[in-house]
C-alpha cells in the first residue's frame, strides 16, 4: 500500500477485555515497530520486528502485551485484560531496513473504560 495502515482508528473497550490492534506496513519494508503514546507524552517503544529475526520485545510493559508478525506482512498487537493505564494511542511504523527512517501509521486510539 501507499502508507502504513492501522485499524481500527479508534477503540473503546471495557476494563478486563482483550483487544487486538492491526498494522499493515508498507510493502517491502522488512522492519516494523510498535510504539505507545500516552496523552501529551512522547513515544514509548514496545516491540520491533526485523525480517525473520527474533523480535525485540524489550519494551513490552507487561506479559499482558504481545505482538505477532507473519513474515514481512501484517502485525497484530494484542493487549489482554486491559487496564485503564493502557489507554493511549498505539502507533505502528515500518522501514525498509532496520536503522533507516520509519514511516508511521495514523495510530489506534485505545480508550479503556
Amino acid at each position: 500500500g501507499a502508507g502504513v495502515s492501522q485499524s481500527p482508528s479508534n477503540k473503546v473497550t471495557e476494563k478486563g477485555k482483550d483487544v487486538e490492534l492491526r498494522c499493515d506496513p508498507i510493502s517491502g519494508h522488512t522492519a516494523l515497530y510498535w510504539y505507545r503514546q500516552r496523552l501529551g507524552q512522547g513515544l514509548e517503544f514496545l516491540i520491533y520486528f526485523q525480517g525473520n529475526s527474533a523480535p525485540d520485545k524489550s519494551g513490552l510493559p507487561s506479559d499482558r502485551f504481545s505482538a505477532e508478525r507473519t513474515g514481512e506482512s501484517v502485525s497484530t498487537l494484542t493487549i489482554q485484560r486491559t487496564q485503564q493505564e493502557d489507554s493511549a494511542v498505539y502507533l505502528c511504523a515500518s522501514s525498509l531496513q532496520g536503522y533507516t527512517e520509519a514511516f508511521f501509521g495514523q495510530g489506534t486510539r485505545l480508550t479503556v473504560v
Binding site: 513515544l43 517503544f45 532496520g98 533507516t100 508511521f104
Partner: protein, 114 residues
C-alpha cells in the same frame, strides 16, 4: 544503550522569528539521527535525517539540523517560523548496539504566536 534528551518541553515563539529546538543523544557507537513532526491530531512525519556525510542536513518546510558529534547534539533550526509550524517535534536516534528500533525523545511543543 542509546537515549535522547530534548531539553525543552515547550518553546513559544513569535511568527517570523528564528527558532532552535535542542536535542542531545547518548550512544557509544555511530548513530543515525532523525527529527519527526506531529501536527495536532495527526501521525508522525519525517522532517529530516542524518545518516552520514555533511553534518548540516536540510529537511522539509525550511527546517535544518546540524549533527555535532563532539557535543552529541542534533539541534533543529528554522530561520523564520510560521503559524503552521505549531506542532510537536520529536528527535530520534537509531543504530549502534542493542536495540535497533528508533529511540525517541520526549518531544518539544513548538507554539508559534502571531
Amino acid at each position: 544503550a542509546q537515549s535522547v534528551t530534548q531539553l525543552d518541553s515547550q518553546v513559544p515563539v513569535f511568527e517570523e522569528a528564528p527558532v532552535e529546538l535542542r536535542c542531545n543523544y547518548s550512544s557509544s557507537v555511530s548513530v543515525y539521527l532523525f527529527w519527526y513532526v506531529q501536527y495536532p491530531n495527526q501521525g508522525l512525519q519525517l522532517l529530516l535525517k542524518y545518516l552520514s556525510g555533511s553534518t548540516l542536513v536540510k529537511g522539509i518546510n525550511g527546517f535544518e539540523a546540524e549533527f555535532n558529534k563532539s557535543q552529541t547534539s542534533f539541534h533543529l533550526r528554522k530561520p523564520s517560523v510560521h503559524i503552521s509550524d505549531t506542532a510537536e517535534y520529536f528527535c530520534a536516534v537509531s543504530g549502534g548496539t542493542g536495540r535497533r528500533a528508533l529511540t525517541f525523545g520526549s518531544g518539544t511543543r513548538l507554539q508559534v504566536q502571531p
